[in-house]
């Protein structure tokens, strides 16, 4: 446990030692701000029944997730393998699983940190709307749990990609490809139009876009929760196996 906490803290800290952390946060803030401006624009137009979070989702949300996830996670293992610190790390009395979980946790915390400006935007809007109750806390909570679960999937995929290689660029590309796959799944299901047939159904289940839409609308679907968590565990499990592979390769 001590090793896990120590490692998590060190990993989290290393986001802020380098410029990468600040660039990602800056980029995410820009995206969030941009979406917020678009949201305000829309609110000034015709009245709508959509919750704020759902309108926000139409902005840069996916752009931020797709691009930030590879950048956040690419360093995790690839840099340590490249610089050789992986060897000093693995010769201390820590288990492979502690290392995987610590790195994943650090990435996830950073990712959630990245979404704080959104909370600021909504608070600000609520303040100026003077009690018009634009958004109830439950919907906001549901939207944030959606962000969290999507984060679990994308961060764990990034962990796996980073563990596979010692080149950060390659890690980023693999993780981007996996992320893009999940993102596009829903759109690929579109042309298959009917809900019949295994292909369309599978793609719909995997589609993180429609799942996130549900969460933003305030619908907490257990299927989505289970899907995101199992996918996350699956990727983390694979990451652990990749680390272990040095023992039998």
């Amino acid at each position: 446990m001590q090793a896990y906490l120590t490692l998590t803290r060190r990993e989290l800290g290393s986001f802020f030692y380098s410029w990468i952390g600040y660039v990602v946060i800056g980029g995410a803030m820009f995206g969030t701000g941009w979406s917020f401006v678009a949201l305000l624009d829309r609110l000034q137009g015709e009245p709508t029944l959509m919750p704020l979070t759902e309108i926000f989702l139409d902005g840069c949300f996916w752009l931020i997730v797709l691009f930030s996830a590879p950048i956040i996670t690419m360093r995790l293992f690839a840099l340590e393998k490249f610089s050789g610190t992986f060897e000093t790390l693995m010769t201390t009395p820590v288990s492979d699983w502690e290392v995987v979980l610590a790195k994943f946790t650090a990435a996830l915390i950073f990712y959630m940190f990245m979404w704080l400006p959104l909370l600021g935007c909504i608070t600000l809007l609520n303040y100026f709307a003077r009690g018009a109750n634009l958004l109830d806390p439950a919907t906001l909570g549901s939207a944030y749990s959606g962000i969290f679960l999507i984060g679990c999937v994308y961060m764990s995929a990034g962990c796996l990609a980073s563990a596979l290689t010692r080149n950060q660029i390659v890690a980023a590309m693999i993780s981007f490809a996996i992320g893009l796959g999940f993102f596009l799944a829903g759109f690929m299901a579109g042309p298959l139009d009917t809900q019949e047939g295994w292909a369309a159904q599978t793609l719909n289940c995997v589609s993180v876009v429609s799942q996130m839409k549900d969460f933003a609308r305030g619908v907490v679907d257990s299927r989505s929760i289970i899907f995101c968590l199992t996918t996350c565990f699956f990727f983390l499990f694979l990451t652990g196996r990749v680390l272990e592979s040095r023992r039998w390769r």
Binding site: Q2, S14, Y17, S83, L89, T91, T92, P93, V94
Partner: protein
């Protein structure tokens, strides 16, 4: 017994890095693994530090198996890999604290030990500096401090002085020698004087095998030519030649002209003979002039070159 390795082998896809290696290291010894690049030194050390498992054979550290009791072994080992990888973005004290906590030390113990190793490695004044900004010599000290921070019984150092300037090498060597008082040290190197100066015992490796294991002195003795002499004498050439040829104690000689009227004679005595007084008497008797008389000691280097020279090269010579 600190390290007990028996019949250890490690093969990477089709390539045998270590072949059937066995050796023991007693508590308190400083042992040097010596060999050319690719001899299997690093692989052996990685196995001992539980980074990779062996393909076959067993290795124990302090009586614990490196494969089945890896966690316990890691607690007892301070390992500094080749090229001394560090986190360049951290500060010295912060890094050592991080490493100490990772190795399971409690909070107050961490503070105590970090202070101790900072002093021990001469890093007190650098403790707040960023590792990436340190000179290579100081980085090496940080690596050593990291290896020492949890007071391991065994310290494994892979090429600890590589890439340092002579002054830095000297200070790191002194540090290693000091470590030998309280810890067992296993270090690898392909620099001979280093091993000769710091180690009680040397294991010479080539192509994954141990070719020789002994003290540096014994290895030199084993070469058996300790009485090799160089004499520079001014004398008529012919007279000198006949003189050497007729000397019964001399096994072999070579002559070459030196500056002035001197000749440089390399003399190999028959086993066990000390030629120096004989030569001195000879020179006095003949009225020659002698300006140098010295004994060439075979350094470990010759033992090493003899043992580690690839066979093809040997044939060519």
């Amino acid at each position: 017994m600190m390290i007990d390795v028996s019949n250890l082998s490690k093969s990477y896809t089709g390539n045998n890095a270590v072949k059937d290696v066995s050796f023991q290291v007693e508590k308190g010894e400083i042992v040097g693994l010596l060999g050319p690049n690719g001899a299997g030194k690093s692989t052996t050390m990685r196995i001992l530090s539980c980074f990779i498992p062996a393909s076959s054979g067993t290795a124990t550290v302090a009586g614990l198996d490196v494969f089945t009791q890896a966690d316990e072994v890691r607690r007892r080992i301070g390992y500094m890999p080749e090229n001394n990888p560090l986190h360049p973005d951290m500060r010295v004290r912060e890094y050592l604290k991080f490493r100490a906590r990772l190795k399971g030390l409690g909070r107050s113990r961490t503070r105590e030990r970090v202070d101790a190793v900072l002093t021990q490695c001469g890093l007190e004044n650098e403790s707040k500096r960023i590792i990436g900004h340190l000179s290579k010599g100081y980085k090496q000290r940080v690596g050593l401090a990291d290896a020492l921070v949890h007071e391991p019984e065994l310290i494994i150092l892979d090429e600890p002085t590589i890439g340092l300037d002579p002054n830095q090498i000297r200070s790191v060597r002194q540090l290693i020698k000091d470590l030998g008082r309280r810890h067992t040290v296993l270090l690898s190197s392909h620099i001979l004087p280093e091993v000769e100066m710091t180690c009680n015992r040397v294991l010479i490796m080539r192509e994954g095998r141990i070719l020789a294991a002994d003290t540096p002195e014994n290895l030199q003795k084993a070469l058996g030519q300790n009485g090799h002499l160089i004499a520079e004498i001014a004398a008529p050439l012919e007279e000198l030649k006949t003189c050497w040829e007729q000397m019964p104690e001399l096994a072999h000689y070579t002559l070459s002209a030196a500056e002035g009227e001197y000749f440089r004679c390399a003399l190999t005595p028959s086993v066990g003979e000390d030629l120096r007084p004989i030569i001195f008497a000879l020179v006095v008797e003949r009225g020659w002039r002698l300006r140098e008389l010295s004994r060439v000691r075979h350094s470990l280097e010759e033992v090493y070159i003899r043992l580690t020279r690839p066979e093809s090269e040997e044939e060519a010579l």
